[in-house]
Amino acid sequence: MLASLVVLGILFPVLRVLGAARLERADLVINNGAEVSSLDPAAVSGVPEGRVMYSLYEGLTVRHPKTLEPLPGMARAWEVSEDRLTWTFQLREEARWSNGDALGAEDFAWSWKRLLLPETAATYGYQLWYIEGAKDFTQTPSNTPQDRWWFDGERYLHWSAERPESLRAGLHRFGQPWRKLVHEPGSREELMQALAAQLGRAELQGPGVARRNPALFEAQAGAQEPAALLSKDPYFGGWLLELPLAGRSLAEATRGWLPEPEAREELFWPRVGIQVKDAHTLQVKLNAPTPFFIELVSFYPTFPVHRATLERARREYPSTWQVEWIKTGTIVTNGPYVITERRINDRIRVRKNKHYWDRDNVAMESIDLLALEHYGTMLNLYLTGGADWIDKCGPNLIPRMLPREDFTPVPYLGTYFYRINVHKPPLDDKRVRRALALSIDRLAVCQKITKKGELPNWALCPDNLPGYQRPDMPHAPVDADYGNYAAALASDREEARGLLREAGYGPGGKPFPPIEILYNTSEVHRDIAEVLADDWRNELGIDAKLLNQEWKVYLASQRSVDFDLARSAWIGDYADPNTFVDLFVSDGNNNRTGWANADYDALVEAARVEPDKLQRLDYLAQAEAILMDELPVLPIYTYVTQNLVNPRLGGFHENLQDDHFPKFFYWMSDAELEAKRAAQAPGQLPAEAPGPSAGLYSPNQQRAQQEAH
């Protein structure tokens, strides 16, 4: 009796789970590599998230799967003004949301406002800061119930009862960067005058006390890094007004003394350069000519979200709306596919969106995006036909995969490098940094450790940015086939030893203090750090120790520049050198080396406002040349892609950004596959190319129809 109860108790959940789980194989199965953190385009950053975004949403433009050139998306046409500052997008009238609602310029304006609102806390909100007033809109104080504003079109007064006992107020100029405020706090008189003016009095007789903001005062005295301080007190200027509340509420305390606050959005939004001209025309004004802006509007942070769904969730579920509007079955999107199934750590199943404007050119009826992280498992699944494209290949298996036709790595927009703490002696000496950079055997790293055909790199930018002449750090020239690599390396190392002697180290000089190489837990990072340590020990006599930290701890160390040398990498957001060069401006969030150079900042700024394309790239190249002379970073190599793709998958192309768009995917016919194979380089091992005819896939009438056209 008991036994049979136990057996039933076990069998029931097993059967229930299995019953609920049964899904037919999708037309296309992709390994997405990780569970995505959200389906909200404003909340995500990361490659796996990107693939889901490109399936479910569409921006103003889409990109060509091979060349990445902008193609019409939600916008059917666009034009840019002579001065390259005003962009006008014509949205297509037939654009619909996945529930059939019409989609227009208003949807984009609202979604972009949402992206920029500080309370959305969008990771990638800064992608729209190229728009006039957008950055200030995000950085003006947050919209908590304690915050109040008053705005005269130029300056705004912000007050808040953050602490229960007193009210604080600060005066700011709209459009002035916070960091400038730190160094040039508004005067006490200005604050008092502003308060008085808006009270309609000649002079302020309020009960408060104005005093220097201690946090910002310290910053002026150079006691702390401005960035560290801003995180403490980013919202108040150099002068604070403190008013005891004495137990009263903020409204009570300021009644008749400070005016009723206005809604923040109404105050600041009109000053942001996003305008709805008519139902299908969106106009955007930029701060400066931004040649890559047209790429940004195809990048997922700028994708629209469905306002009605979100607002309904907010009304119906005041406490849990953040997870309600995005539930499968509730969420409304505008891309080529809609989500039908979502299981954490398992898969996202999408099916074709029947309201999508270009539905006739969407071939796959359904796609599965799996969340496999284990190298062995994804390869097993791929080799047994369970997945058609896996985005990673385990390092041990690369030599065996390289000869295959379905594994063709190409360089893309990513650089592997080391950051140096330039304030830590002896690394504060540029000669020492250059000596370290010159003595690294980059080819050994690429050929013996990473093995996929990565390119040794002597600059921050990869070598494949269109139109850009990358300035390498000065080093002995190396042939394209690396024929003279050994000789070039030997001469570089000779120079390195000389530099170190010049700096006063080595035989006859000071002993070189031991240095630490920081990396995050990973076999490949460890192996590369070992090569570097060996090179420096053998060539320069430097004692370099390895320091391994778990990912989040490593990030914290990097952020506080608490290291000697730290492994780093950067994947470009768009195909322009700015995405790399911009990292190392003096107060850059991602600088993390302590390096600051006024000439560099000036060149990056000059490039930002330069309308002429060539001149602009030239400024950026000059800036990168300064970086490669000063070397707060040690470039190592350029990344390559590592996709294993069913050769029959059409619409998939290896490209500069390793971005792939499910909209374009289809299954090739035998004839097309033959033609493709005939065109590719000889000697590649053919791989199995199962397709709809293998019986694995649902009938693909759409593609047949297309071919009939």
């Binding site: 008991l2 909100g125 800064y126 801003l230 995180s231 750590n345 778990e550 989040k552 914290a556």
Partner: protein, 328 residues
């Protein structure tokens, strides 16, 4: 019985509170936060993100908010300065909070999605572990000192010594690539659970086998077994009616923690076979600094271990009349 259960319940509340408090403060003392990434956030954005999850509050207030039962934020009761839209919240009312990493889900959602799968996988693993472990253990004990005993003990030692990912790799090589009997990974049909179940249960089967053998040997040398034999009972009756009950007591003790272990500790197997159970959350939530999810699975584990141990204690009295609850 009722007194026993009530006392257990009281102890359970205390244990749970201790576990929550210690792990809450321990986790917050670790370096690195849930929102750090290769790309630094703008300070203002970061501040707003922290505000959204109340990370800008003093730690004691965050702790009270997490434990509940009263919501400390703007939705909380009016007497705490809130607007009263949602006065209750926190663990005490069963709300484990939103996940920091998987922003579209609450921790309750995540556990509700993954636990049934872990139960399914764990049932298969434990089921065959018990079946195989008991039968080989009994056979070993009955044939003590023979080649059968030696062979089975060797096998059991191997099962304990080999890590389950090695067993998984062997199973995949044989049953997927050589024989093509089972799918390589994923879930959805009973066939998907066989290989991971085998791999997950193997060490448990081996351990149960050894426990059974030891227990049975001890019981078989007891006086009452000799008496039973002397009465002229059939050897099978002696074994089934008199020996097994006492012989498998150590196994019963082991089943409590084993069940909890199988349900929650299947990280490696879940990864290799891509089964989205709870196992991976135990490690990943800590690595991601997903505070609420890490707390959620810690609480889940505490509840599982505690209730399974209580069940084990209850099972003792059913099997061995010499044991009474009041003594335990």
């Amino acid at each position: 019985m009722l007194r026993f259960l009530l006392r257990r319940l009281g102890l359970f509340a205390l244990t749970l509170l201790a576990v929550i408090s210690v792990s809450f403060f321990l986790m917050r003392s670790v370096r690195g936060g849930p929102f750090s990434s290769e790309r630094s956030l703008d300070v203002v954005v970061e501040r707003n993100l922290e505000a959204r999850y109340h990370l800008d509050w003093p730690l004691w207030k965050q702790y009270l908010q997490y434990v509940g039962p009263v919501n400390m934020d703007e939705r909380g009761p009016v007497w705490l300065g809130g607007d009263g839209t949602d006065a209750l919240g926190g663990v005490l009312v069963g709300d484990l909070g939103p996940s920091f990493k998987y922003k579209d889900f609450t921790v309750n959602d995540i556990i509700a999605q993954s636990l049934p799968l872990s139960v399914a996988l764990g049932s298969v693993a434990l089921g065959w572990a018990i079946l195989l472990g008991l039968s080989t253990g009994i056979a070993s004990a009955l044939h003590r000192g023979t080649r059968i005993d030696l062979g089975l003990r060797l096998l059991a030692t191997a099962g304990i010594a080999l890590p389950n990912f090695v067993i998984a790799a062997i199973l995949i090589l044989v049953f997927v690539f050589a024989l093509d009997w089972f799918p390589v990974a994923g879930w959805g049909t009973p066939a998907h659970l066989i290989l991971p179940g085998l791999a997950l249960g193997a060490p448990f089967a081996a351990y149960i086998s050894r426990l059974t053998r030891t227990g049975m040997l001890e019981v078989l040398s007891e006086d009452y077994i000799r008496t039973a034999h002397a009465k002229g009972l059939h050897p099978r009756t002696v074994l089934l009616r008199h020996a097994i009950g006492g012989g498998i007591l150590p196994v019963i003790t082991y089943l409590g923690p084993a069940t909890a272990g199988v349900l929650t500790g299947s990280l490696v197997i879940e990864r290799i076979f891509n089964i989205p159970g709870t196992g991976s959350h135990f490690i990943n939530s800590a690595l991601n600094r997903d505070y609420t999810l890490a707390m959620g699975v810690t609480i889940l584990y505490t509840v599982l271990v505690y209730s399974l141990n209580t069940l084990v204690d209850l099972a003792y009295t059913l099997i061995d009349p010499r044991i009474q609850l009041e003594d335990s």
